[in-house]
């Protein structure tokens, strides 16, 4: 492979990768910041022109977000209301310059503990499409801080959001120390499906930046199902499995405390989307 390749089909992209390792690039919003003052990687595989990675499409079962779709394209694609968590997260990533360049798939592949996309995808029960031929649930794709299930020679081709079978809502809340351009201290995303009587039929609540990988809160989810969206159902022990750290953005104690506040508010927001 040349120092820089910009294939237009997934087949060409995989062929280029088969020739030897190359750093994949879509928006460049993670690649370049990691190389300040250094030359670009020796071999770059630019995925931005791969046709199969473009566009937001849907079929009867799911919405397919191409891996090269930017945050801005995602916002402007007219996602249905049950994907609101993702649209809201997209609008709070970096600033317009980052939203115009960065991709949801890149956010997932970069696998930062503070990736805003990951809790949204956990809440939306997303699957990661690899090489256009197999899929993995998001929880099995992001394995740790900066670690994914993607093997050498593989490319994430899309993100699939399964369509809910009944009325559904989702929401996202981000906590940072300034208004824009901010890495989350903690963030939460939730999606619920509601039965005809308004009771919760299914719930997925996820917390990010409180451990190496964003996590769902299964005990809370179970408690929500069958009842109403009541913020008071949130209990401290729901957060026991989180493993937040102390860093310059906040203490572990604070993160745990803030996550609980955010999840309470999230449930309120799911109840009253406004």
């Amino acid at each position: 492979m040349a120092a820089y390749a910009r294939p237009t089909s997934l087949r060409e992209a995989l062929a280029a990768l088969a020739e030897g390792p190359a750093v994949p690039l879509a928006g460049g919003t993670d690649l370049y910041p990691a190389r300040v003052g250094r030359p670009p990687p020796e071999r770059v595989l630019d995925l931005s022109a791969v046709a199969e990675l473009r566009g937001v499409t849907q079929d009867a079962d799911s919405i397919r977000i191409g891996a090269a779709v930017t945050w801005t394209e995602l916002i402007e694609s007219g996602l249905p209301d049950w994907c609101r968590a993702l649209a809201d997260a997209a609008g709070e990533i970096g600033g317009p310059q980052i939203q115009n360049r960065g991709t949801l798939a890149g956010n997932v592949c970069n696998a930062s503990p503070a990736a805003d996309g990951v809790p949204c995808l956990l809440a939306l029960d997303a699957r990661i499409e690899i090489d256009g031929r197999r899929t993995l649930p998001i929880a099995e794709f992001v394995l740790g801080s900066r670690r994914t299930a993607l093997a050498a020679g593989e490319i994430v081709s899309a993100i699939l959001l399964p369509k809910p079978r009944q009325a559904a809502r989702s929401a996202f809340l981000k906590l940072g120390a300034r208004k824009y351009l901010v890495i989350s201290i903690a963030m939460v995303a939730g999606a619920v499906e509601l039965a005809e009587d308004g009771s919760v039929a299914a719930a997925r609540i996820a917390v990010g930046a409180c451990g190496p990988v964003a996590q769902r809160l299964p005990a809370l989810e179970r408690r929500l199902v069958g009842g109403r969206l009541d913020p008071d159902l949130v209990r401290a022990e729901d957060f026991a499995a989180l493993a937040p750290i102390d860093d310059m953005r906040g203490s572990a104690v604070y993160r745990r405390d803030a996550a609980m506040t955010l999840v309470r508010r999230l449930i309120g927001k799911l109840r009253d989307p406004g």
Partner: protein, 892 residues
């Protein structure tokens, strides 16, 4: 090599040779010479490199050249929007101008899609571009106003007091302004420093054959003169390149010269430097403890210096006080975070060296470069480039010594531009402070005594530490009448980046303490916080804590009176979670009890051309414009008649540093005197009085008492600048040295201010939103109100950062996404009230405003948070985690 890429740039088709995987910003600047696109971080954090790619704003530093193939790129040079540019000029939206291209491009993206945007849309559109100077409000106002037709006669022609657009503004909004990295000669060698990865380590450099493209390696042994520099004539403790021991992480030990790409490709781990890490001291308490290892053998106790003040018996007064308060507060390192990293280039010409550099202090640079080269100062020429923000950080040596040495030795031009991590790791910071202070008042709420003890972490080298330690005791009690006071400020060496000059020289940290105490005492005595301050405010002819009698220009009471209606209204709105706070300050203009003269020259050529030769560097604050306005006023000519030659040490006299809020007051006065001198010389030629009117139009004439004398200066031999006649003015503000008790008259003039903040606090998350600021500043006389407001608004933004979010963690925050400065969404609407209490010594009554804008902000915000929540910070910045811990009753 990748295939050449063709694209459209500013409407023209171009083919780029730059590698496809390289950043588009590289190709724009280095291949196409479009240097209007600025590099602030290379990481998408600052937005200075914002361009339009197919009409959408993107950071050019994040776009691979290959992805621009076949697409359209528009840079600031190709921006077709004169209305937007004009609005930026009209509103003073460009200060230093380094973020201006990015702001303009972000705004143009919005305006193409939304011709009449509202404020929220503008904030969102600009949210990816950081500005460190303006506080954003004038930028938002300019974009709101961009589609307004610029009315004829919009620009005032009078000089003094006019809202004139800045004299150097057009180049800034057109992207033509040349900053430190923008005009590097094509044939220049580049420099890269290898820096210590350890806080403290011994090292040995082994034999090394550098890779191709690296033409020379410099070590401490290559320094031709003294391997040391520093602010003070007797403290040259900071080596250009470390000799065997590195005292902080980021200290340079080696310099590589060569081609830019080759230098970037050098793998640091391949360089045979044997490091032996040594124990390091980061905490001043540990560093000053008995038996602590010394950073510098000649500094026992790691004490750099100690400033003291004693007036009356503070302890007795406190003991007798009816109400007493005490605080302990700690502040962190604060980074200047100017969007332009340090940059410059040097070239040797015979036995002289010329250094073009982004700086606040050309004459100090000249002397330091001479020192490290071992040559006379006259052999050095410093040419300041446009400065993309300084705030005190460019009052120190950065690139200057090494590029000068490299150019001297190689006889080649040598350029060096710090990258953002380097700028953040290696350059000076605001001193972290630990302050314990006590204050007492009588039953009527009148202050009786004050005691202050401050420890300042000065890092590995002296830098401006002595200035901080000298200024703090004088200011520690704030702008109040305190009959008995004691204060001590110590600067302690540690193994950290040197703490240096940063807008306020330690006073912002001290102000947090004294304003907390004032709030405590107001609360204890049951007196409204504003009223308590007014009761104790220094007034004209009062004695300060140094025993100095203030002159007539002391407008704090007027500032407080101006705030009062806003204050009352805000108190009405207050409730749990929403509070209002107030901060006051006094600031001595110019150096502390030290001579700090400025010399200005104004020349008149036979053809009527007037030139101001100003050695004062405009770092965005607007001194170029202000000095031209003062010169015009004193000459009695329209301000647009003045041409400017600025900064160059070969062409201008020493105006001193752009620091200590001194250029308007000190250089402004020198400028006025120079203008009066020139006017008198002209008048003399016409046998008229010095007050005669100068008429410059068709020819030069002097008019007095109805008599007009036309003058032909063609017969006078032009001087080396081509001027037929020149006037010179020198001003050194009169001060008296401080005695052992810190008593004396350290400053000739004092600025005063009071600011008020309204905040909303999310008590469950600990987040604070500043809703509104009102700032009342006694500036003596506002030479240009738009520029004065710009200084205040920009100071408030930095004060907000100091209060709530800015803290540099050594080794962990060397970028602009971990180190947070306020964005456009964080700075609230700001209402400025200018109080003009004329300073008799200043030019037409003016004094300084550069630092005063910042000093009262953090106290006002912290006071408002306290009002909203009942908690008082122990550590600043009051981050969400720290505030939440206080509210929840935990220790942070």
């Amino acid at each position: 090599m990748s295939a050449p890429v063709s694209l459209t740039v500013n409407g023209r088709t171009v083919t780029l040779a730059t590698a496809s995987a390289a950043r588009l910003s590289e190709a724009l600047r280095h291949e196409l010479g479009l240097t209007g696109t600025k590099i602030g971080c290379d990481a998408g954090d600052c937005g200075a490199c914002t361009v339009l790619l197919d009409g959408r704003q993107v950071c050019a530093c994040l776009v691979p050249v290959g992805q621009a193939a076949g697409r359209s790129v528009v840079t600031v040079e190709g921006l077709d929007d004169q209305g937007l540019r004009a609005a930026f000029l009209r509103h003073g939206a460009a200060q230093c101008g380094i973020c201006t291209p990015g702001m303009l491009m972000a705004a143009s993206d919005l305006l193409r899609r939304v011709p009449r945007p509202d404020e929220q849309q503008i904030e969102a559109a600009l949210s990816g571009v950081l500005c460190r100077c303006t506080g954003y409000r004038k930028i938002v106002a300019a974009v709101l106003d961009a589609r307004r037709a610029s009315p004829a006669g919009d620009v005032e022609t009078k000089a003094m007091g006019a809202r004139r657009p800045r004299i150097d503004g057009l180049a800034k909004v057109e992207g033509r302004e040349a900053f430190g990295a923008d005009a590097v000669p094509k044939d220049a060698l580049w420099l890269r420093a290898i820096r210590s990865p350890h806080h403290h380590a011994r090292f040995e450099i082994g034999a090394w054959t550098p890779p191709a493209g690296v033409v020379r390696v410099l070590t401490a042994r290559d320094v031709p003169g003294r391997n040391g520099f520093g602010i003070y004539p007797d403290i040259k403790d900071q080596p250009v390149l470390a000799e065997g021991v590195a005292r902080y992480r980021g200290e340079p030990v080696l310099a590589l010269l060569g081609e830019r790409a080759a230098l970037r490709a050098v793998d640091e781990s391949a360089i045979p430097i044997r490091w032996t890490p040594l124990p390091h001291l980061h905490d001043p308490a540990a560093a000053s403890a008995p038996g602590a290892a010394l950073l510098h053998a000649d500094r026992p106790g790691n004490l750099l210096t100690e400033g003291k003040l004693a007036r009356g018996d503070a302890e007795a007064a406190l003991a007798a006080a009816v109400h007493r308060a005490a605080v302990e507060i700690e502040t962190g390192f604060v980074e200047h975070a100017y969007i332009e990293p340090e940059a410059g280039w040097a070239v040797r010409r015979g036995d002289r060296i010329e250094v073009t550099v982004s700086t606040q202090t050309p004459y100090m640079d000249r002397d330091e470069v001479a020192g490290v080269l071992g040559i006379a100062p006259e052999q050095v020429r410093i040419v300041p480039s446009a400065c993309g923000g300084g705030f005190g950080g460019k009052l120190d040596q950065s690139v200057q010594p090494l590029i000068a040495i490299a150019a001297w030795l190689t006889k080649m031009p040598v350029a060096w531009v710090y990258d953002r991590p380097e700028s953040m790791a290696a350059t000076t910071k605001r001193h972290p402070a630990r302050i314990q202070a006590r204050m007492g008042c009588d039953a009527d709420g009148r202050l009786v005594g004050f005691a202050f003890e401050g420890t300042f972490n000065t890092g590995a080298y002296a830098s401006w530490g002595p200035t901080v330690a000298g200024r703090v005791p004088v200011h520690a009690a704030g702008p109040y009448r305190v009959p008995a006071a004691s204060a001590r400020a110590r600067a302690i060496f540690t193994h950290l980046a040197p703490a240096g000059a940063f807008r306020g020289f330690g006073v912002p940290q001290a102000a947090i303490a004294h304003e907390m105490l004032i709030d405590d005492l107001a609360l204890a005595s049951g007196i409204d916080r504003l009223e308590f301050r007014r009761r104790n405010a220094l007034r004209p002819d009062d004695l300060t804590v140094t025993g100095q009698a203030l002159g007539p220009s002391a407008g704090l009471v007027a500032c407080l009176n101006a705030l009062e209606p806003h204050w009352r209204a805000a108190l009405e709105r207050a409730r749990p979670g929403r509070g209002v706070g107030i901060g006051c300050m006094v600031y001595g203009i110019g150096n502390t009890a030290m001579s700090n003269p400025s010399t200005m020259r104004i020349g008149l050529a036979a053809d009527g051309r007037l030139t101001l030769y100003s050695g004062a560097v405009d770092i965005g604050q607007g001194s170029n414009t202000v000095l031209a306005q003062i010169a015009a006023e004193a000459l009695g000519v329209p301000a647009d008649r003045i041409r400017l030659v600025a900064g160059d040490t070969d062409l201008t006299a020493d105006a001193g540093k752009t620091s200590a809020s001194r250029q308007t007051f000190v250089s402004g006065k020198a400028c006025e005197l120079a203008a009066r001198d020139l006017r008198a010389r002209l008048a003399r030629l016409a046998n008229a009085s010095p007050e005669a009117r100068i008429a410059l139009g068709a020819g030069i004439a002097v008019e007095e008492g109805g008599r007009r004398t036309a003058l032909d200066l063609g017969h006078l031999a032009p001087d080396r600048n081509g001027d037929a006649l020149a006037g010179e003015g020198r001003f050194d503000p009169p001060t008296e040295p401080l005695d052992a008790n810190g008593q004396g008259a350290p400053y000739a003039s004092y600025a005063f201010a009071a600011q008020m903040a309204e905040v909303a606090v999310d008590r469950d998350l600990g987040t604070v939103k500043v809703l509104r600021m009102v700032a009342a500043h006694d500036v003596g006389r506002a030479v240009n109100p738009t520029l004065v407001e710009g200084q205040i608004e920009g100071g408030i933004a930095q004060g907000l950062g100091l209060a709530l979010m800015e803290e540099w963690w050594p080794g962990q925050a060397d970028n602009l996404h971990d180190y947070l400065i306020p964005t456009v969404g964080d700075v609230p609407p700001i209402e400025t009230v200018l109080i003009e209490s004329p300073e008799p010594l200043g030019p037409f009554g003016a004094k300084g405003v550069g630092e005063p804008g910042l000093v009262p902000t953090a106290p006002a915000i912290l006071g408002a948070v306290r009002h909203a929540t009942g908690v008082r910070p122990k550590r600043v910045p009051l981050t969400p985690a720290r505030l939440r811990a206080l509210i929840a009753g935990r220790s942070s």
